[in-house]
């Protein structure tokens, strides 16, 4: 698809979709949504970009090096957040038990480790979807 109208409309809408995905990931503890939903929205913004502008443009925006990096270290980040509990002498992935301040409910920093863990999950989900899409589209060519 190399339509002029489609390209201009996508260039207007896609940045907002991307920022909205980041918003949903970060506000997982306060509002409906969460890291899985937000990660899919972020991944979808890249997938839509690649379908409209072509797979080469998409891979130029998100090189394979970045994808390999996020694929590999998303779960490791999750595990590192779990190690906070082990360092304080309480079980793995403990949150309030590990002495992390839960904060004021309703603010962005509430939930202790939950926003940080959610960031890792969101990055993992987004990179998984983009990697699956790129791999299958490359095979299609």
């Amino acid at each position: 698809m190399r339509d002029f109208i489609l390209k201009r409309a996508a260039s207007l809408i896609l940045p907002f979709i991307f920022v909205y995905g980041i918003y949903v990931i970060l506000h997982g503890a306060v509002s409906p949504g969460g890291s899985f939903a937000g990660g899919i929205i972020v991944g979808l913004s890249f997938i839509a970009f690649s379908t409209i502008y072509g797979i080469e443009e998409g891979q130029a925006k998100l090189p394979e090096k970045v994808l390999v990096w996020t694929e590999s270290y998303g779960t490791l980040w999750y595990g590192l957040m779990g190690m906070v509990g082990l360092g304080r002498g309480v079980p793995f992935l403990a949150n309030k038990l590990a002495g992390v301040d839960p904060g004021t409910p309703g603010t962005l920093s509430s939930g202790g480790l939950i926003p940080l863990i959610g960031l890792g999950v969101g990055i993992r989900v987004a990179s998984t979807f983009v990697t699956l899409f790129f791999t299958m589209m490359e095979e299609e060519r």
């Binding site: 997982g28 969460g34 595990g79 992935l93 309030k96 509430s110 999950v121 791999t135 095979e139």
Partner: protein, 99 residues
Amino acid sequence: MRVIKNLLLILLALLVAYAVIMTVAELPPYGQPDNPVHNQVAKRYIDEALEETGALNMVTSIVLDYRAYDTMFETIVLFTATLAVVITLKTGKGEGRRK
């Protein structure tokens, strides 16, 4: 010989169906407040999730705090799915990819 085998298979199927139907008949009625599924776990989440995790969204507090192990291995499932697709589709190395 074949008829006997088929009759035995039908008998086996009927036995399994009988066992399954009797199990379903033993289930507690749907949606009653004193069912065994409504135990202290759900009550604990509803009453104390906000206080114990500080997250307003109770689903997130369960998924990323109480059941954090589960979510961690869900991300590993995603990793395995990607790995399987990449191994299956990206054969060969670099530019020498299979055409």
